[in-house]
C-alpha cells in the first residue's frame, strides 16, 4: 500500500457505482486521486429504483448537473409522491406526497385541526389540503417557488428516470473528470496478509487492480464485502419477507402522471413508474405464497401497454450488511443491503452512503473510527427505512390472503409500535431528526391506511369549530386555486427544456 489513500477502486458500474464515481471525482477534484471503476458489459445491472426521493436533487446539484439536461438524457419525469392502491383495504387509494398538508396554524400542526373538525362534524379528505396530492392527481407539475411556507410551494419533488440511462449519464460525467473505466469481470481478491485488507482484485483476463480503498458496488453478491471479507448479513425477512421480484418495461398508455404507483397484491405488491419513453413495472412478492410463474403472469396481465422486454427475475433477502465499512472496503448499493423499493429508498440509501463516505473520506490510512462512524450512521438509516416500509404492511385491514393474514398477526418492533400507538391515541407523530421520512410521510401512510386517531391534540380545543371550519376552507380553496393554475407535467417538461421528445403525451385533464 502506498502512503496515503490515493488509489480508489469502485467495483461495479450500475447506479451505485457511477453515482459514487461521479461524487468522488467532483468532491476530490485536484487531489490527484486515482479513481478506477471496474465493470463488465457482460454483467447486467439490476437498475433498481427508477423512482427517487426529493433528496436526489441535492445530489445532482452538488455535482453541478443541469436539471433539464439530466432529465432529457434519462427520460425523466417529475415525481410528487407515490400512489398506494389496495393497501389498507381492497379499493383504497391514497397518495403519499412530498410535502405538507395545509399550513401550521399558530405553530400547531394542520392535521390536528383537521382531526378536530372531522371528529366534530366531518371534513373533506386531508388530501384536499395538499398541493402535491391534488397536482399529482390531475397530472400537473411546476417547480416550487422560493417561499416554502406558501401553499403551492410547500412541497418537494423527485424524479422517475431510467436508472440505466442515469448510470450512463454519470459515466460520461465521471470519465470527463478523470475516472478510468476498466472493462472486465473480477475473478478474485488478494488480501494483504498483515492487515487483512484487500490489496488488489484480479480480473478474468489476468490483469490486476491495486487500490488503497475499495468501494463495493457489485450488487447482491457483495464480491468484496461478503465473498472476500465475509462480513455477514443481518436478515430482516422476519419483518419484510418478500424475497423475489419480476420486472418488465412496457409502452406507456399516454398518462404522464407525476407519481409512482404501488398496488398491493395478494402476495406482494406491484410498481408502476411512468417515464417519458416507457413505463417501468415490477412485482415484488413473497415466494412462499405465490409461484414465480404466477407472479410474472399477474404482472404481465396487468400491463397498460405491450411489454418492451422479457420479464427479468430478481432474488433477494431483505436486510443489511453487518458492517457497511469493513477494513478497506465500503459497500454501497445492493451490496450494502436490500430494502424493497416500496418507498423509492434504494437510490436514496446509495446517496446517503456516498455522502457519508465523502464526509469521512480517509486521508493517510484506513481508520477504524471512520468505519465505526460510517457504520453507525448507515445502520440508523437502514433501520428507520425498514420501520417505515413495515408500516405499510401492518397498517392493514386486509385478510384476503395468507400474506396479509400473516402481517395482521405480526409483532412489530417496539420502535414502530410506539409510533403507531402515539398516532392512534391523538394523531401525534414521534419525531426524529436523522432519518429520511418526516412526519408528513408518516401521516400520509397511517391515515391513508385507515389508522384513525381516537383524539386530537387538546391544544386545538381553544379554537371554535366555526373558526376551524373557516380556516380550513380558506386553505382548501387556496390549494385548489394553486393547482388550477399549474400546467400539466407534459407542458411543463416542454417549457422547462426537459422533454426528450421520445414519446411525450399529455396527461388526461
Amino acid at each position: 500500500m502506498t502512503a496515503g489513500i490515493t488509489r480508489i477502486c469502485i467495483l461495479g458500474g450500475g447506479t451505485a457505482g457511477w453515482m459514487t464515481a461521479a461524487a468522488l471525482s467532483r468532491k476530490f477534484k485536484n487531489l490527484g486521486l486515482d479513481l478506477t471503476l471496474i465493470e463488465s458489459d457482460q454483467i447486467g445491472t439490476v437498475g433498481v429504483g427508477e423512482a427517487t426521493l426529493p433528496h436526489i436533487r441535492f445530489f445532482n446539484q452538488a455535482l453541478g448537473i443541469d436539471e433539464p439536461a439530466f432529465m432529457k438524457a434519462t427520460e425523466a419525469t417529475f415525481k410528487l409522491g407515490i400512489e398506494f392502491c389496495d393497501w389498507g383495504k381492497l379499493g383504497d387509494r391514497y397518495i403519499h406526497p412530498f410535502g405538507d398538508y395545509g399550513l401550521p396554524i399558530d405553530g400547531l400542526d394542520f392535521h390536528q385541526f383537521w382531526l378536530k373538525l372531522r371528529q366534530a362534524e366531518g371534513a373533506d379528505r386531508l388530501d384536499a389540503y395538499s398541493y402535491p396530492v391534488l397536482a399529482a392527481e390531475r397530472g400537473r407539475f411546476k417547480v416550487p417557488d422560493g417561499n416554502i411556507d406558501q401553499i403551492g410551494s410547500n412541497f418537494g419533488y423527485a424524479y422517475q428516470f431510467d436508472a440505466g440511462l442515469y448510470a450512463g449519464f454519470l459515466r460520461t460525467y465521471s470519465e470527463e473528470r478523470g475516472v478510468k473505466r476498466q472493462e472486465g469481470k473480477v475473478a478474485d481478491a488478494e488480501l494483504d496478509p498483515n492487515s487483512g485488507h484487500i490489496a488488489a482484485v484480479r480480473l478474468e483476463d489476468g490483469s490486476r487492480v491495486e487500490a488503497d480503498l475499495f468501494v463495493d458496488c457489485s450488487g447482491f453478491r457483495g464480491l468484496l464485502i461478503e465473498q472476500a471479507l465475509e462480513t455477514g448479513y443481518d436478515d430482516w425477512s422476519e419483518w419484510l419477507p418478500c424475497n423475489r421480484a419480476v420486472a418488465v418495461p412496457c409502452e406507456a398508455n399516454g398518462e404522464l402522471v407525476p407519481y409512482t404507483r404501488a398496488t398491493a397484491r395478494k402476495a406482494g405488491w406491484q410498481w408502476r413508474i411512468p417515464l417519458q419513453h416507457r413505463t417501468g413495472n415490477g412485482h415484488v412478492y413473497w415466494s412462499e405464497f405465490i409461484s414465480d410463474d404466477e407472479a410474472a403472469h399477474q404482472l404481465t396481465s396487468t400491463l397498460e401497454g405491450p411489454a418492451l422486454a422479457e420479464p427479468k427475475k430478481l432474488f433477494f433477502k431483505t436486510g443489511r450488511r453487518r458492517k457497511f465499512w469493513n477494513r478497506n472496503v465500503v459497500c454501497i448499493g445492493l451490496s450494502a443491503g436490500f430494502l424493497e423499493p416500496l418507498e423509492s429508498t434504494s437510490i436514496h440509501l446509495i446517496q446517503e452512503g456516498i455522502t457519508t463516505l465523502v464526509e469521512l473520506f480517509p486521508k493517510d490510512r484506513i481508520d477504524p473510527l471512520d468505519a465505526e462512524e460510517y457504520n453507525e450512521r448507515m445502520g440508523l438509516n437502514f433501520e428507520r427505512v425498514r420501520d417505515f416500509l413495515l408500516l405499510h404492511y401492518v397498517a392493514t385491514q386486509r385478510d384476503d390472503s395468507a400474506m396479509w393474514r400473516h402481517f395482521r398477526e405480526l409483532t412489530v418492533p417496539d420502535s414502530l409500535q410506539e409510533k403507531i400507538d402515539a398516532w392512534l391515541t391523538r394523531g401525534y407523530v414521534l419525531k426524529y431528526e436523522f432519518g429520511v421520512f418526516l412526519p408528513p410521510s408518516w401521516i400520509a401512510v397511517m391515515l391513508g391506511q385507515n389508522l384513525t386517531p381516537a383524539h386530537h391534540d387538546p391544544r386545538v380545543g381553544r379554537y371554535s369549530i366555526e373558526d376551524i371550519r373557516d380556516r380550513l376552507e380558506r386553505i382548501r380553496q387556496e390549494t385548489a386555486r394553486a393547482v388550477d393554475v399549474t400546467p400539466t407535467q407534459a407542458a411543463f417538461l416542454q417549457r422547462y427544456g426537459a422533454a426528450s421528445g421520445t414519446s411525450l403525451r399529455a396527461a388526461q385533464p
Partner: protein, 477 residues
C-alpha cells in the same frame, strides 16, 4: 376527548410553577381549568435555574407575554451572547457563544479550515467578538448582513422573573390558590387531590408537580430521584453604575466555579461548590443534582427542579425547563388513558437530560491539564457512551456526532470541543483541494468583515438605553 372539563392542578409557584401554569393557560382552551397552588415561601432553589437563557427561549418567552418590552422595562434583564470561560481548561479565556450555523466556505465547514491553519475560532464569530468588546445590536433579518448570525439570549435574575410571571399569572385565567401544600390524596399512582393548609383540598384530573426539590406531589408516588452529586450555591447581587458586557463570565475554582452575570443595574454572582466544601457560608443553598427515573407517573408530571437539577454552568437549566413545558404542552392528555403520553414524555425527558448532561460533562474533560477544571464526577448512565463517541470523532477529524433533537447544537459542541482543547487530528480531505494561501485569505477576509461590523456596534449599555427609550416612547404612543 372527554366531554367533561378537565382540571390541571399545578403544584408550585416558583419560576417553574409560574411558567408551566401560564403556558398551559395560554395554550389550552376553556375545556381545561388551570389551578395553581403557590406556597407562601420563596423557593431558594431558583438560583439553580441560573441567570442566562439561550436563543431558543425568545419565542417561548414572547408567547407567554415576556416580550422585550416587559423584560427590559420591568426588570433588569440584559442581552446575552453567551459565556466566557476563564481559567477553564486553558490559560486563555474562551467563549461559548450563541451563533447561527457557522459559515461554510467552498462547501466545507469552517472548523476544518481552523484545524488546518491552527487559527482560533473566536475572531470569526460575530457574537463572540461583540461579546468580548462589550457591544450589542439586534440581528437584522437580512441574511447577507454578518450581524444576522449573532443570536442572543438574556441575562436575568430568576427572582425578578418570578415577579414578572406572578403578575402575568394574576392577569390570566389561572385560578391561584395561595397556600402551602400539606399532603396528597392518591390511590396507587393516581392522585385525586392536593391537601393545602387552611383550605379545602384541591381536586383535579392531572397534576403537575412544579414544587421543586420538595416534590410534594410526585414524591408521594413511587418515584425515584437519583442524586448524582450534592452541591451548594451562593448568590450575591451588587449594584453597579453601568451595565457590563452582554456575556457571563464563568471562572473555575478548585471545587466549583463562579459566574458573573451583568444585569442593567447590577451584577449577579453565583458561586457553585461541592456541598462538602468547608469554606461555604451558612447561607449556601444545598441541592442534590440528579433526576427522576420517570418524570411522569400515573397522572402526575414533574417539571423543573421537581424532576431534575443540573448545575447552571450553561443556559441548560432554562433550556431543560422550557423543554419540560413544551413536552407537556404537546402531550397534555385528551383522555383518561395516559399510557401513550406518559411513555413518550418519559422517553423525551430522559433523552433531553442525557444530552444536557453530556454537554456539561464535556466541559469537565480537558484535553490537557486535568487540574484546570473543577473536580467533579461525570454523570453516570446513558449519556456517557454517546459523549465518548462525540469526543473521539471530533478529535479524530472534526466530525460532529449528533443525536436526535439535542438541546445543544453543532455550533455549541464545536465551541465546547475547541474550548476544552480538543483539536482534530486531521481536517476534511476536500479542503486539500483549496490552496492554503487562498484559505488564509478567505479567513482573513471573513475576520475583517466581522471586525468592521463589530466596530460599528454600540456598547451594550448604550444600545440597551437607546432601545429602552424607544420602547418607552412606543408604549406612550
Amino acid at each position: 376527548m372527554s366531554l367533561n372539563r378537565k382540571t390541571i392542578v399545578v403544584c408550585g409557584g416558583g419560576l417553574d410553577g409560574n411558567f408551566v401554569a401560564l403556558s398551559l393557560a395560554k395554550t389550552l382552551g376553556a375545556d381545561f381549568r388551570i389551578v395553581q397552588i403557590a406556597g407562601s415561601e420563596r423557593r431558594a432553589d431558583n438560583v439553580f435555574y441560573g441567570s442566562a437563557t439561550s436563543p431558543e427561549g425568545y419565542n417561548f418567552l414572547h408567547a407567554l407575554g415576556l416580550d422585550e418590552r416587559t423584560l427590559l422595562l420591568k426588570s433588569q434583564t440584559a442581552f446575552s451572547y453567551g459565556s466566557f470561560f476563564r481559567r477553564w481548561a486553558s490559560p486563555q479565556p474562551w467563549i461559548l457563544c450563541h451563533h447561527a450555523p457557522f459559515p461554510i466556505l467552498a462547501g466545507i465547514p469552517l472548523r476544518h479550515f481552523l484545524t488546518r491553519s491552527g487559527a482560533p475560532l473566536e475572531p470569526l464569530l460575530i457574537s463572540a467578538r461583540a461579546a468580548a468588546l462589550g457591544r450589542f445590536a439586534h440581528p437584522p433579518d437580512d441574511p447577507r448582513n454578518p450581524l444576522s448570525r449573532a443570536e442572543y439570549g438574556y441575562q436575568f435574575s430568576p427572582d425578578e422573573w418570578i415577579e414578572l410571571l406572578d403578575s402575568l399569572v394574576a392577569n390570566s385565567r389561572v385560578e391561584r390558590v395561595r397556600a402551602d401544600i400539606t399532603g396528597i390524596d392518591h390511590q396507587g399512582d393516581t392522585v385525586s387531590a392536593v391537601q393545602v393548609a387552611g383550605r379545602e383540598r384541591v381536586s383535579g384530573d392531572i397534576f403537575v408537580d412544579a414544587s421543586g426539590p420538595a416534590r410534594h406531589c410526585i414524591g408521594a408516588l413511587a418515584s425515584n430521584y437519583r442524586a448524582t452529586r450534592n452541591v451548594a450555591a451562593c448568590a450575591e447581587r451588587q449594584d453597579v453604575p453601568q451595565l457590563g458586557p452582554p456575556c457571563r463570565v464563568i471562572e473555575a475554582g478548585p471545587s466549583g466555579w463562579t459566574s458573573t452575570t451583568h444585569l442593567q443595574d447590577s451584577i449577579l454572582k453565583i458561586r457553585i461548590d461541592a456541598a462538602d466544601d468547608n469554606d461555604l457560608p451558612a447561607t449556601a443553598i444545598q441541592m442534590a443534582l440528579g433526576q427522576l427515573d420517570e418524570a411522569w407517573i400515573g397522572n402526575c408530571i414533574a417539571v423543573g427542579h421537581a424532576a431534575w437539577a443540573i448545575e447552571p454552568l450553561t443556559p441548560a437549566p432554562m433550556m431543560l425547563l422550557q423543554r419540560d413545558i413544551v413536552r407537556l404542552q404537546e402531550l397534555v392528555p385528551g383522555s383518561d388513558d395516559m399510557t401513550t403520553e406518559r411513555r413518550e414524555f418519559n422517553r423525551r425527558f430522559k433523552d433531553d437530560l442525557a444530552h444536557a448532561n453530556s454537554f456539561h460533562d464535556a466541559l469537565y474533560i480537558p484535553e490537557t491539564r486535568p487540574e484546570a477544571v473543577p473536580r467533579r464526577p461525570l454523570s453516570p448512565g446513558t449519556g456517557s457512551e454517546a459523549l465518548s463517541r462525540k469526543i473521539a470523532q471530533f478529535k479524530n477529524r472534526g466530525i460532529l456526532v449528533s443525536y436526535d433533537l439535542e438541546p445543544f447544537n453543532e455550533e455549541d459542541w464545536t465551541q465546547n470541543h475547541l474550548g476544552m482543547g480538543r483539536l482534530p487530528r486531521q481536517h476534511d480531505r476536500q479542503l486539500d483541494a483549496i490552496p492554503v494561501q487562498q484559505a488564509e485569505h478567505d479567513l482573513a477576509r471573513l475576520q475583517n468583515v466581522i471586525d468592521q461590523m463589530v466596530s460599528r456596534m454600540p456598547p451594550h449599555h448604550v444600545y440597551l438605553a437607546r432601545f429602552k427609550a424607544y420602547l418607552e416612547k412606543k408604549s406612550h404612543v
